[in-house]
C-alpha cells in the first residue's frame, strides 16, 4: 500500500531539465580544449581479414599522430566489467591485426583538425589477407579453421575455440522428461528476435586530456565511470589514481554504455601517444558498426496440465553474438533467469549457445534478454490458452511468479524473494480500461482494416543485488552532506541516462530530510572523488542507486540529529523533522515541547561555529534483494490487410514500480520503453550483405527505420496505470521501472496483430511484407 509523502508521488520538473532544454548541457562530443587534436579510427572494409602490413608514412607527412596494433599492449580483456572475473571471457585487444567485422578497428590517427585527420586516415596504406567470412551462425558453426577467434581467456585460463562457439550454458531445475510426461498439452515453437540497434542520439564519443602529473582525464559516453577507469588502468598499465573518468551526460545509452566503448580506449591511446587532448566523435555509420542488441533464436517447448498448470519447459537457444564477447555468458544466464521468473515451472532446462559471426558485436540493450524471452514465452502462453480454452489473463494469473516466491533477477546466481506484487491488479485494470473482453476478434472482421487488442506481461529485475554474492557485482557508494545553510549535497558516481535516476535520488533524500527538492543538489562526480558504483544498468538506478543514497542520508541525518539534540538540549530520539510549506523551512522540534524548535539551517550553522563538525556520511551500499518491477501492456492495433501496415491506436500500460517517485518521468519511461519495444516488433533490425559483410542500411538512421512521432498513438490514447504497491526493501517503497517498461512491449504488439488477423508471428520484426505473405496476398519479395 502506498504511503503519504511530502514530495514523492508528485510531478516535479527535473533538475537537469533546464540546462538540457536551454542548450547548455555538455555531452562528450561538446567538449573543446586548448591544443586539442581530432582523432579518426582506422577500420576494416572486410568482414574477416588479417593485416599483413601497414604504412603510416603518408599520414605522418601530414603531421598526424598514428597508433595501431604494432604499438598496442597485447593484453586480452572484456569491455564489460560488471561480472566477476571468474565469469568473464576475454577476447578483446586494444588493436589487433585480425579484423573480424566490417568496421573493426586496427589503428587510429589524430591531427589538428577533423578534416586533416580524415585526410590522414585516407592515406594510410594497408596490405590485406582476406579470410573467409561467416555471416550466419550456420556458416560459423560449420567452420573448422580460419576461426573468428582461435583462443580466448576465461579469467586467466586459456580456452581453445571450436566451431566458432563462444560459450555455452546449461541451467536445469527438476526433471523435464518427467515433467513433460505429466503434460496434457505441449506447445513447441521456434522464436526469433532481431539485432536491434540502440540508435542513441549521440554517437559514442570520447575526449581524453593528458594531465601534468602523467595521468589522464577522460570524458566518455559511458554508463559506468568506475569500470571505465578500471579497464583503462589495466589496458594501459596506469595506476588508477592517475586515471580520472568524469561523469558527463550522454545523449542516450540504452545499454550501449554498460561496457567501455572501444572509442574510449582508442582516444586514450592517441592522447597518451600525442601527449595532447584528443577527441573522437564517431560518425553515425561508425556507431552502427559499434554495438547492437543480442538477437535470439530459440525453440521453446512448454507443457501444461488440463487445468492450465505449467509442468515443464525446455528452451534451446542459439545466439549470434557477432565478433566479440561483451559478456555473452551473462546473456545466456539472464535468458534462463528471465524465463524462469516469468512463470512457475518445476521442471525446466535451458541450453544456450553463443556463436561468433563476422558481424557487429552484440551487447545489452534495454531489457537485456528479457524482451527476447518474453516474446516467446508470452506467445506460448497465448497458444496454450487457446489449446486449453482458458482465458489468457487467467492462465497468466494462475502461473506467474509472484508474492512470496523466489525470483531470479539476473540469471541463476542472483535470487531473492518477492515482497511486493501488483500483477493481478494491473492485469485487471488494464483489461478493463482497454475493453479487452469486448474485442471482436479476427473471426468477426472482414474489411480492409482490422482491429485487434492484445496484451503481454513481463518484468525486469531492480538491480542485481541478492543476499549472497553472484556472478554480477552490485553496489553503489554515496556521500550525503548537510551544508551550513541547510541545503544538501549528494555525491555519487551513479549515472542518469535521461530517465531521472539522480533526480530520484535527490527526491528521496529530500523526503528523508523533509527539505524542499530544490535544496538538494547532485554534485558533479568523477572517479577520483567518488567510491565505486558498478554501473547504471539492470534497472538498478532507483532501487540500488537512489536506495544507497537513502541509506546514507539516514546516517547523515543521525549526525545532524546529534547536533540538533545538543543545540536544543534534548535527546536525539525525541526529535521530529517537519516541512513548513509557508516558510519553506524544515523544522526540527522536540516532541511534547513545542517551544524547543529550530531549523536544519540553524543547527548546521551552529555546528560549524561551535566546531562540532559537518553532518556528513559516506558509505558503499549493497542491496540484498532484486525485486521484480512488473509491467504489462494492453495494445490496440489496426492492420491494413491491403498493405500490411500496422497502426498502433491505443496503449494501456500497467507498471508496478512500487512507490512512484516522479510520475511524469515514470510515465516517460513507459512511453519510451513501449516506443522502442514496438519498434522491435514492427521494424527495427540490422541486416547484412552476405557478400560484403556491410550493413544493408549503410549507416543511415532513416534506412535503419524506427517508429516516427506520427506512428505513435496520440498522448490521450496512451494511458499509464501504476500499481498500488510498496516495496518493503526499496527506498521509501520504490523499485525499478526502466527496462521493465520495454520488456513485454514486443510481445503485446504481436498479440494484438494476432487478435486482428488471426496470425501469430514468431519472428520479429513483423514487416508489412511478412503480414502480406502470411495473409496469402502473393506479395513479391
Amino acid at each position: 500500500m502506498k504511503k503519504e509523502f511530502q514530495f514523492l508521488g508528485k510531478d516535479f520538473p527535473r533538475k537537469e531539465g533546464r540546462a538540457r532544454a536551454n542548450g547548455f548541457e555538455k555531452y562528450p562530443s561538446d567538449l573543446y580544449f586548448d591544443n586539442m587534436l581530432y582523432g579518426r579510427i582506422l577500420r576494416s572494409p572486410y568482414p574477416h581479414a588479417r593485416i599483413k602490413s601497414i604504412d603510416f608514412s603518408e599520414a605522418e607527412k601530414l603531421g598526424a599522430v598514428c597508433v595501431s596494433y604494432e604499438d598496442a599492449p597485447g593484453k586480452r580483456f572484456n569491455l564489460r566489467l560488471v561480472s566477476v572475473p571468474k565469469a568473464t571471457y576475454k577476447d578483446w585487444q586494444l588493436f589487433s591485426d585480425h579484423m573480424r567485422q566490417v568496421g573493426d578497428f586496427f589503428g587510429a590517427v589524430a591531427a589538428e583538425t577533423e578534416e586533416l585527420a580524415e585526410q590522414a586516415a585516407r592515406v594510410v596504406k594497408v596490405e590485406w589477407e582476406i579470410l573467409p567470412a561467416y555471416m550466419s551462425m550456420d556458416a560459423a558453426l560449420a567452420a573448422k579453421d580460419n576461426l573468428i577467434h582461435d583462443k580466448v581467456f576465461l579469467e586467466d585460463q586459456e580456452i581453445k575455440i571450436k566451431n566458432n562457439i563462444a560459450c555455452t550454458r546449461e541451467v536445469v531445475e527438476g526433471d523435464i522428461e518427467a515433467g513433460f510426461q505429466e503434460a496434457d498439452v505441449i506447445v513447441e515453437t521456434e522464436f526469433e528476435t532481431p539485432r536491434q540497434y540502440h540508435c542513441q542520439l549521440e554517437p559514442r564519443s570520447c575526449v581524453v586530456r593528458p594531465e601534468a602529473d602523467g595521468g589522464i582525464t577522460v570524458w566518455p559516453t559511458t554508463q559506468a565511470v568506475h569500470n571505465t577507469r578500471i579497464l583503462i588502468g589495466s589496458v594501459f598499465n596506469l595506476p588508477l589514481n592517475k586515471v580520472n573518468v568524469v561523469r558527463i551526460t550522454g545523449g542516450g545509452h540504452f545499454g550501449s554504455g554498460i561496457h567501455t566503448n572501444p572509442v574510449t580506449l582508442i582516444t586514450t591511446a592517441l592522447a597518451l601517444k600525442s601527449k595532447r587532448p584528443v577527441k573522437i566523435v564517431q560518425s553515425r555509420e561508425e556507431d552502427m558498426y559499434d554495438h547492437v542488441r543480442y538477437p535470439s533464436k530459440y525453440v521453446l517447448k512448454v507443457g501444461a496440465r488440463k487445468d492450465g498448470t505449467l509442468v515443464a519447459g525446455h528452451m534451446r537457444a542459439y545466439i549470434d553474438i557477432g565478433c566479440h564477447h561483451i559478456q555473452a555468458l551473462a546473456y545466456l544466464g539472464v535468458m534462463s533467469g528471465f524465463w524462469h521468473s516469468l512463470y512457475r515451472m518445476e521442471n525446466m532446462k535451458y541450453e544456450g549457445t553463443a556463436v561468433y559471426t563476422n558481424k557487429v558485436p552484440t551487447c545489452a540493450m534495454q531489457g537485456y534478454g528479457a524482451p527476447q524471452v518474453t516474446f516467446g514465452v508470452e506467445g506460448t502462453m497465448d497458444m496454450l490458452a487457446e489449446k486449453l480454452e482458458i482465458d489468457p489473463i487467467q492462465l497468466r494469473i494462475k502461473n506467474y511468479v509472484g508474492l512470496g516466491e523466489v525470483f531470479w533477477g539476473q540469471g541463476p546466481t542472483v535470487k531473492s524473494p518477492i515482497f511486493s506484487d501488483g500483477v493481478v491488479e494491473l492485469l485487471k485494470k488494464g483489461a478493463e480500461s482497454i475493453g479487452y473482453y469486448k474485442r471482436p476478434g479476427s473471426q468477426k472482421q472482414t474489411g480492409r482494416y482490422r482491429r485487434g487488442i492484445g496484451f503481454a506481461r513481463g518484468f525486469h529485475t531492480s538491480g542485481t543485488g541478492a543476499p549472497v554474492p553472484g556472478e554480477v557485482k552490485d553496489y553503489t557508494t554515496v556521500q550525503v552532506k548537510v551544508n551550513e545553510d541547510g541545503t544538501i549535497d549528494i555525491l555519487t558516481a551513479l549515472m542518469d541516462h535521461g530517465g531521472g535516476t539522480l533526480d530520484a535520488a535527490a527526491k528521496i533524500v529530500a523526503e528523508e530530510f523533509q527539505v524542499p527538492f530544490d535544496k538538494v543538489g547532485i554534485s558533479p562526480a568523477d572517479t577520483r572523488s567518488t567510491g565505486y558504483d558498478v554501473c547504471t544498468h539492470a534497472t538498478r538506478g532507483v532501487y540500488c542507486g537512489a536506495g544507497a543514497a537513502h541509506e546514507v542520508a539516514k546516517k547523515t541525518k543521525d549526525v545532524l540529529l546529534e547536533y540538533a539534540a545538543r543545540y536544543l538540549d534534548a535527546y536525539p530520539d525525541s526529535l521530529i523533522f517537519s516541512y513548513d510549506e509557508k516558510s519553506g523551512q524544515t523544522r526540527i522540534s522536540v516532541w511534547g515541547n513545542p517551544e524547543k524548535t529550530t531549523t536544519i539551517a540553524a543547527v548546521a550553522e551552529h555546528a560549524m561555529n561551535k566546531d562540532w563538525g559537518t553532518a556528513i556520511y559516506s558509505k558503499s551500499i549493497r542491496k540484498v534483494a532484486c525485486p521484480p518491477a512488473y509491467t504489462n501492456y494492453f495494445v490496440e492495433v489496426e492492420v491494413d490487410t491491403e498493405t500490411g501496415h500496422v497502426k498502433i491506436l491505443r496503449v494501456v500500460a500497467g507498471s508496478d514500480a512500487g512507490t512512484v517517485i516522479n510520475p511524469i518521468l515514470a510515465k516517460g519511461q513507459l512511453h519510451g520503453g513501449f516506443y522502442r519495444g514496438a519498434g522491435m516488433a514492427l521494424l527495427e533490425n540490422t541486416s547484412y550483405d552476405d557478400k560484403t559483410g556491410c550493413l544493408t542500411n549503410k549507416g543511415s538512421m532513416i534506412d535503419y527505420k524506427m517508429l516516427g512521432i506520427d506512428e505513435m498513438p496520440d498522448p490521450d490514447d496512451f494511458e499509464v496505470i501504476f500499481a498500488d504497491t510498496y516495496e518493503p526493501t526499496g527506498p521509501m517503497g520504490a523499485k525499478g521501472i526502466g527496462e521493465a517498461a520495454f520488456n513485454p512491449a514486443p510481445a503485446a504488439v504481436t498479440s494484438a496483430i494476432c487478435d486482428a488477423i488471426g496470425i501469430r508471428f514468431t519472428k520479429l520484426p513483423i514487416l508489412p511484407e511478412d503480414i502480406m505473405d502470411a495473409l496469402g496476398e502473393g506479395h513479391d519479395k
Binding site: 520538473p13 547548455f24 545523449g251 535521461g498
Partner: protein
C-alpha cells in the same frame, strides 16, 4: 582550399568570418563559437538534432554550407529566449511536461516547435506530428514532447 569571407549574425551578434567552402553551418557554430546546443546526431540530414533558425525558419545546420548563409541571421537554442535571464516558454514547457530525457534531441525539438507555433499559434496533435517528423528522439516515445509543444504554444500566447 581558398577561404571565403562571410557575414553571419548569430544570436543577435554580427560576425565576419573566413570559412572554407566545405564548412557546414553546424561546424561553424560548434567548432568556432562552441555553441554546442546544436548537436551532431548524424551529419546527413536525418535526425534534426542540429536544427537552428535561419532568418526565422528551422533548418538542418549540418546540411547547409556556411557560405550559403552569408548575410543571414542564425538563432541557436542558446539564443532562443528573448530575455537573457529567463528561458523561452517552449523550453520551460519541455521541462515541465517531462519531455526532456537525455536531452540530446531537445534543442532541435524546441527550435522546430517554436517555429511551428510562430506559424500556427494553436497547433493540433496532427500539426505537431507533421512539424516534428524530422526531429528524432530515441528516449521519450514522443508523447510528452507532443504535450510540451501544446503547453508551450499556450504559454507563448500569454507572453
Amino acid at each position: 582550399m581558398k577561404k571565403l569571407p562571410i557575414e553571419l549574425t548569430i544570436n543577435g551578434r554580427a560576425h565576419e568570418l573566413l570559412v572554407s567552402p566545405k564548412e557546414t553551418l553546424l561546424n561553424v557554430l560548434r567548432e568556432r563559437f562552441h555553441l554546442t546546443g546544436a548537436k551532431y546526431g548524424c551529419g546527413i540530414g536525418e535526425c534534426g538534432a542540429c536544427t537552428v533558425l535561419l532568418d526565422g525558419l528551422p533548418v538542418l545546420s549540418c546540411q547547409l554550407l556556411a557560405v550559403m548563409c552569408n548575410g543571414k541571421k542564425v538563432v541557436t537554442i542558446e539564443g532562443l529566449s528573448p530575455q537573457e535571464a529567463a528561458a523561452h516558454p517552449m523550453q520551460d514547457s519541455f521541462v515541465e511536461e517531462g519531455a526532456v530525457q537525455c536531452g540530446f534531441c531537445t534543442p532541435g525539438m524546441v527550435i522546430s516547435a517554436t517555429a511551428l507555433v510562430e506559424e500556427k499559434s494553436e497547433p493540433t496533435t496532427e500539426d505537431i506530428k507533421v512539424a516534428l517528423r524530422g526531429n528524432l528522439c530515441r528516449c521519450t516515445g514522443y508523447e510528452n514532447i507532443i504535450r510540451a509543444v501544446k503547453t508551450g504554444a499556450r504559454k507563448m500566447k500569454e507572453v
